[in-house]
């Protein structure tokens, strides 16, 4: 062992002890001192303070603060706690039912372990400890990946770890007497990593490029290839769009279109594909207008602050303004900071250290923002889109020339130089000028059409900026009510995330800009390695998508109601690796994807299941149901129908009239057939009408920040997949694709390789052949006569079944 390794081992002993202490083992230790802040206060807050709070103080008793708790109940004039004597403390009596009524009144008694904790705490003197900034509010401490455990390793586990991630996992598994799972086969990894990173299965050619590559780093090369693939951005942007409740309409009654909202979607795709540093990515979205005004993408990014729903017909505009502010505050907090602050809108957070003042101080950063449609300083569009725009502009110009010609002709005839279009129209009504009138109408109609097409693709973005240089100030709103403003507050950061101190932000205006600089201060605070949450939250999100579950499974709530991380060391270490790698998300992907932990099989391990059924320790990979987008994109890719055109305004796959009839104001456009076959991320996002296939497979509601998709299994999904038009049309296309292959045997082989990314077994080939024969016989019997049609129908049905298999929609 090298000296360096030895030193790090010594350094790690306390860490290992820590890891052990927080491990799954939960043996209760009677001698352990009970902390009021850690153990007792949360019980009181969640179980008792609903009634025994300052405001209602049922029975004249509140335990909202330690002082009030010690004071006891006014009604009976009794102390409820006698330090050192749990048996004589009537608080315990009420909980145990020896005093009536048993508490909590009308609800089941507290679990024994909670009552025992309270007793232990009283027995130990009912001491109240200092408020500590525990996890997650304290910034990550320096962590070194653990060395290999010295005992308990087998020959297999000694060689198992591939990178530092694995060392954390192995140490914890070993401490719990568990073993990690072995690496999946190349074939399984191939399908997993394609669907995970780019969101569509590999073609047989792409598969062979990996399967036939016998070099030892074939997998790592594949990972690099996929991270460089532009499809990566299309896959992973969707995860971000879920968080920021992206949509292309306002929602509510009118649900009108935001014609250039798509620019934000394309921005996210571009940012991910170019591996834009995550700190910069955040800064652009919070204050791109102030920080990088020469950068078109930075302007587009500020659209983040106006993505929420907007009631165009609101009868109370100040309330609407407040709703928008609340939505922006809540979304920034949960999506970026992993904190659910919404509770603090009306009162101090009951679980987390977020005061109502904190909430409105954070909100204050946004109160002077306004929505502007900003002309982009630099071209960002694809050449084809620019060309389309120029063509439309030329057309507009020509049309306007022709229209002006008619105008001046008519004005001359009228002898009125200032005749307006209405007057011109009137003059043209005369039957003798029928042709001229027709020409006038045609030109004006065309001009209108051209404008409508031009509008969404103009080099303009939906952005925000400040109303002026004035530094925003705000008020606490009592009970969250606009009508009852409380104390004035200045922009400031959540105290718990600022070493526990309430500090106003230092705001420096830019001398040359008409903005306050407030959001720049916020952006710099959020996107800083010193912020305890930002890096932890994003690395946890990446982990969540790669494994189907995060290191913290409540990925938008790291607070007390959230789950405590089982691997605090790994999370903190990764959170520090991110800034060390220049905030490169791709570096983090690489770290995870190349780990032995990621490469594990979806193992069956009764011992591990007994200890950790949910696989919170990651002793295996998780089997994941594909999201709606990956299912739809996969079907298109497999059928050969996928149109891989990138970017631009949203497209409209066909939606049945029955679905359109379910709303009052649905406006669903139409797209040419080939456009309908683009990836799902490009589908127009209408708040009142999600694409039915996406909706039925747990798509996001586009109003709330969506941390993690549900993966429900419901019958309407089966109806969509098995009866819906889309499944059948892609099955037909798939069958046509197979028809070019030689014999039946090679067609079956090709079908399996395309859809399931593996070759069929001989037994499966037999089963498929038998199925095809059975179906042909059936169709003949049911009166189908054309032998070509019989053949094609049977193949279509086989392809249709493949799309519906569990193997197609689940990833091992």
């Amino acid at each position: 062992m090298s000296e360096k390794r030895f030193r790090s081992l010594i350094y790690l002993i306390p860490l290992a002890a820590l890891l052990l202490a927080s491990s799954l083992a939960t043996s209760s230790d009677a001698a352990k001192s009970v902390s009021y802040r850690e153990s007792i206060e949360p019980i009181f807050k969640s179980e008792c303070s609903g009634c025994h709070n300052k405001a209602s103080a049922s029975g004249g008793f509140s335990l909202e603060t330690p002082e009030l708790l010690r004071k006891g109940g006014v009604k009976f004039g009794e102390k409820v706690i006698i330090p050192g004597k749990p048996a004589q403390s009537i608080l315990v009596g009420y909980l145990r039912g020896t005093h009536q009524p048993r508490m909590p009144i009308g609800l089941p008694p507290l679990p024994e372990n909670k009552i025992r904790l309270i007793e232990d705490w009283i027995a130990q003197g009912a001491k109240v400890d200092e408020v500590k900034l525990g996890w997650p509010y304290a910034p990550p401490a320096p962590v070194t990946p653990p060395a290999l455990p010295r005992t308990g390793l087998t020959d297999f586990t000694k060689k198992w770890a591939r990178n530092d991630v694995d060392r954390f996992i192995l140490a914890k598994l070993n401490a719990n007497g568990l073993q990690p799972a072995p690496s999946a086969s190349k074939g399984v990894l191939l399908r997993r990593v394609y669907l995970d990173v780019v969101g569509t299965p590999p073609t047989p050619e792409e598969a062979d490029a990996f399967l036939l590559d016998k070099s030892p780093d074939a997998y790592e090369k594949l990972v690099n290839r996929l991270l460089d693939d532009p499809r990566y951005g299309e896959r992973w942007a969707r995860h971000w769009l879920d968080l920021v409740r992206y949509a292309e309409t306002h929602g509510f009654e009118a649900d009108n279109i935001r014609p250039r909202a798509w620019r934000y979607r394309d921005y996210v795709i571009r940012a991910l594909n170019s591996d834009k540093p995550y700190d910069r990515f955040l800064k652009e979205q919070i204050a791109g207008d102030e920080l990088y005004p020469q950068d078109s993408d930075a302007w587009i990014a500020t659209g983040f602050l106006r993505l929420g729903a907007y009631d165009e017909l609101a009868t109370d505009p100040p309330q609407r303004r407040q709703d928008i502010l609340n939505d922006a505050t809540d979304t920034l907090s949960s999506a970026v900071l992993g904190m659910t602050v919404g509770c603090a809108r009306c009162h101090d957070h009951k679980y987390d250290r977020i005061s109502q003042r904190d909430y409105y101080r954070l909100q204050a950063f946004f109160v002077n923002t306004k929505w502007v449609d900003q002309k982009l300083p630099v071209e960002v569009d694809a050449a084809s889109l620019i060309q389309k725009r120029n063509t439309l502009k030329d057309q507009t110009q020509k049309l306007n020339l022709a229209i002006d010609q008619i105008r001046s002709d008519v004005r001359k005839a009228l002898g009125k130089n200032d005749a307006d279009d209405d007057a011109i129209d009137k003059w043209l009504q005369d039957a003798s000028r029928k042709d001229k009138k027709a020409e006038w109408d045609r030109l004006r109609g065309e001009e209108g059409d051209t404008q409508r097409q031009l509008r969404p693709i103009e080099a303009t973005a939906e952005t925000v900026t400040d109303t002026g240089k004035e530094v925003p100030s705000h008020h606490v709103l009592l009970r969250g009510n606009l009508a009852t403003p409380g104390d004035p507050v200045q922009p400031g950061f959540i105290a718990a995330l600022s070493e526990g101190r309430e500090k106003d932000a230092v705001i420096t205006a830019f001398p040359d800009k008409p903005t306050s600089g407030a959001r720049t201060a916020l952006a710099n605070w959020v996107a800083s390695p010193k912020n305890p949450m930002t890096a932890r939250v994003i690395v946890n999100r990446l982990w969540q998508h790669h494994f189907g579950n995060g290191l913290v499974s409540t990925a938008s709530d790291f607070g007390r109601n959230g789950e405590k991380p089982r691997y605090p060391g790994l999370l903190d270490w990764m959170a520090q690796e991110l800034p060390r790698h220049g905030w490169s998300l791709k570096a983090m992907h690489r770290l995870i994807l190349n780990s032995a932990t990621y490469r594990q099989i979806v193992a069956v391990n009764p011992k591990a299941e007994k200890l950790d059924l949910q696989n919170r320790l990651f002793w295996r990979q998780n089997r994941q149901r594909l999201e709606a987008e990956a299912i739809r994109d996969g079907m298109l890719a497999v059928s050969g129908g996928l149109n891989d055109q990138r970017g631009g305004p949203g497209i409209y796959p066909a939606v049945s009239d029955e679905v359109l009839a379910t709303g009052s104001t649905h406006k669903w456009g139409s797209s040419p057939e080939d456009q309908q076959r683009r990836r799902t991320i490009y589908v127009f996002q209408r708040r009142s009408l999600p694409l039915p296939m996406v909706e039925v497979f747990d798509g996001p509601d586009m109003v709330n920040s969506c941390t993690r998709r549900n993966a429900t299994t419901i019958a309407p999904q089966a109806l969509t997949m098995f009866n819906g038009d889309f499944g059948w049309s892609e099955a037909r296309r798939f069958a046509e694709r197979l028809a070019t292959e030689g014999n039946s045997d090679s067609r079956i082989e090709k079908a399996y390789r395309l859809a399931l990314v593996r070759r069929p077994t001989p037994e499966e080939k037999k089963q498929v052949a038998a199925f095809l024969e059975k179906k042909k016989t059936l169709h003949l019997r049911e009166g189908m006569t054309d032998p070509k049609k019989v053949e094609f129908t049977a193949w279509t049905e086989f392809c249709h079944v493949l799309f519906n298999t569990n193997e197609f929609v689940y990833v091992d």
Binding site: P42, I43, K45, S46, E47, S56, F252, E253, L313, T315, D323, G342, C343, K350, G548, S553, T554, G559, N561, V604, Q624, S656, E658, A661, T662, G663, S664, T665, H666, R687, L689, E695, D701, V703, N704, R708, N710, A711, T712, T713, I714, A715, P716, Q717, A718, L719, F722, G724, W728, F771, K775, H779, E782, V801, N804, T805, N806, E807, Y810, D812
Partner: protein, 486 residues
């Protein structure tokens, strides 16, 4: 403002598993829990999130039929007689209610000079209880002894979309789960071959806001409402693809089942995979069960006439009411019917012509609703079915343009009948002219709490963890309308 807690009890492991949706289906998670040995075969022993669950509190109602009068019916022209409005007809609000202040309407600021307008409809007493109902609802009038009218419900928005969201989800902002989602989340459903929460829209279109009115919001899609159509096939994609015979479909399903079983062999114990196989079989059975459930052709002529299927003006809503009764019989938990669809006078939104508008909509729903109540009663189903009648808001006692009425969230009349409700009474009141609530005001959340209580759910304890908060239909809890409960 009440001070009921909205931060719930710390959740159990079971709750956590069900709510966290850890990337596995909630369905599978239920089955994964070691302490609950659950079979996963749907048809025989229903399990999973839609399996029937016992109520929290003993209750009579097992199903809810929510009759949604979209557009906002006018209380003073239907179920809330106002002699005061007759007295002050043509006078200003200030004359009737000196303290009313400025009257704000959706249509814009109404100066104090806009006159109050008495109801153009006559009211008369019905039943033993002698409750007064306007001539718009003579058939419903026959049922008043089974109905509990609440004449003092108020909400927070005078704008259709937020008001619809509030009546359906408890929140004026979009994104919260609808009441049907909460009820099925709390109670599951009795019939696993049909959706537990069914919505039937007006043929003229859906309500403003669309699907979010029956969506499950942040809850799993399991609890979202399924739209049943009243013509053609009942559910989207219910029919096999074009030209696919039953034999052909069955053969495809069998082959799919074989492939899936083969796939499962090397993946033992994965209940997600098993659940998905079951879901296909359920979908197959649903293809049969749903058309059967909504097929009213086998009903007797007498029944059809009772619901008004024999008259063109009542046929559509009558069919929906009859379908609702058939769904209740088959154990569907929550059914919502819309009267009114699209915009303007295709809904109850009588801005211009209260007489023409309300005659049309009441005329098309009065007989069917009465038929539903009577049919449920004679079949012994009214005790176990809660029927609710409501719009998204009431309407103004002042006129709009001389003959219409504008939106009014200040007060509306909502009525309930059946399971758990004491009929033959009118609770609460509006003020003298029906502008705002008078005695015993109840917020929409109080109505929600009461509806939940009728099916045995406690609105405080029925929580769902989302965004770090134990969410509720009633947010911080509603006050039960105790007088309404039997």
């Amino acid at each position: 403002m009440n001070d009921k807690p909205h931060f719930g009890p710390a959740y159990s492991r079971r709750d956590f598993l069900l709510r966290a949706g850890t990337g596995f289906g909630g369905l599978a998670l239920t089955a994964m829990m070691a302490d609950e040995a659950l079979a996963t075969n749907f048809g025989t022993a229903p399990t999973g999130p839609m399996a029937p669950k016992p109520p929290m509190i003993p209750a009579k109602a097992k199903s809810v039929i929510f009759l949604f009068m979209y557009g906002g019916p006018s209380q003073v022209d239907t179920f809330d007689p106002k002699p005061g409005l007759v007295k002050y007809d043509g006078k200003t609000m200030k004359a009737a209610l000196p303290n009313a202040g400025e009257v704000k309407t959706f249509g814009g600021a109404q100066s104090g000079s806009v006159p109050l307008m008495k109801s153009p409809f006559a009211f008369r007493k019905y039943g033993k209880s002698g409750i007064e109902v306007s001539d718009l609802f003579p058939h419903v009038g026959q049922c008043v002894d089974d109905i509990c009218f609440v004449r003092s419900i108020y909400g927070d928005s005078n704008n259709h979309a937020p008001a619809l969201f509030e009546m359906n989800t408890g929140a004026i902002l979009q994104g919260a789960p609808s009441m049907g989602s909460w009820v099925t989340y709390g109670l599951g459903s009795e019939n696993q071959n049909l959706p537990g929460f069914v919505v039937m829209l007006d043929s003229r279109g859906g309500p403003i806001g669309g699907a979010p009115n029956w969506a499950s919001g942040y809850m799993p899609a399991t609890y979202q409402g399924t739209v049943f159509r009243t013509a053609g096939t009942a559910i989207l994609d219910l029919k096999p693809g074009k030209g696919v015979s039953d034999a052909s479909q069955r053969s495809d399903l069998d082959f799919l089942g074989n492939l899936n079983k083969e796939h499962m062999k090397s993946r033992p114990g994965d209940t997600d995979l098993e659940a998905r196989i079951s879901a296909y079989e359920l979908a197959y059975r649903m293809q049969m069960a749903a058309p059967e459930a909504v097929d009213v052709s086998k009903e007797t002529e007498e029944v059809k006439a009772l619901y008004g299927l024999d008259k063109p003006e009542t046929a559509e809503f009558g069919r929906k009411c009859l379908m609702a009764r058939r769904l209740v019989e088959r154990g569907v938990r929550f059914i919502q019917l819309y009267s009114g669809g699209g915009h303007g006078d295709d809904t109850w939104d009588a801005h211009g012509d209260i007489v023409g508008n309300h005659k049309k909509h009441a005329g098309s729903t009065d007989k069917p609703i009465a038929g539903l109540l009577m049919d449920l009663k004679r079949r012994g189903l009214l005790d176990s079915t809660l029927v609710v009648w409501a719009g998204e808001f009431g309407r103004m006692p002042i006129s709009q343009g001389g003959s219409g009425r504008d939106h009014n969230p200040g007060v509306q009349t909502v009525w309930m009948a059946g399971g758990g409700v004491r009929g033959g009474q009118a609770i609460g009141s509006s003020d003298e002219v029906g502008y705002k609530t008078g005695e015993d005001p109840y917020h929409i959340r109080d109505l929600h709490a009461t509806i939940l209580r009728c099916v045995g759910l406690d609105d405080i304890r029925l929580t769902y963890l989302f965004n770090g908060r134990f969410q509720r239909l009633t947010v911080n809890g509603g006050n039960l309308i105790k007088k309404a409960l039997a």
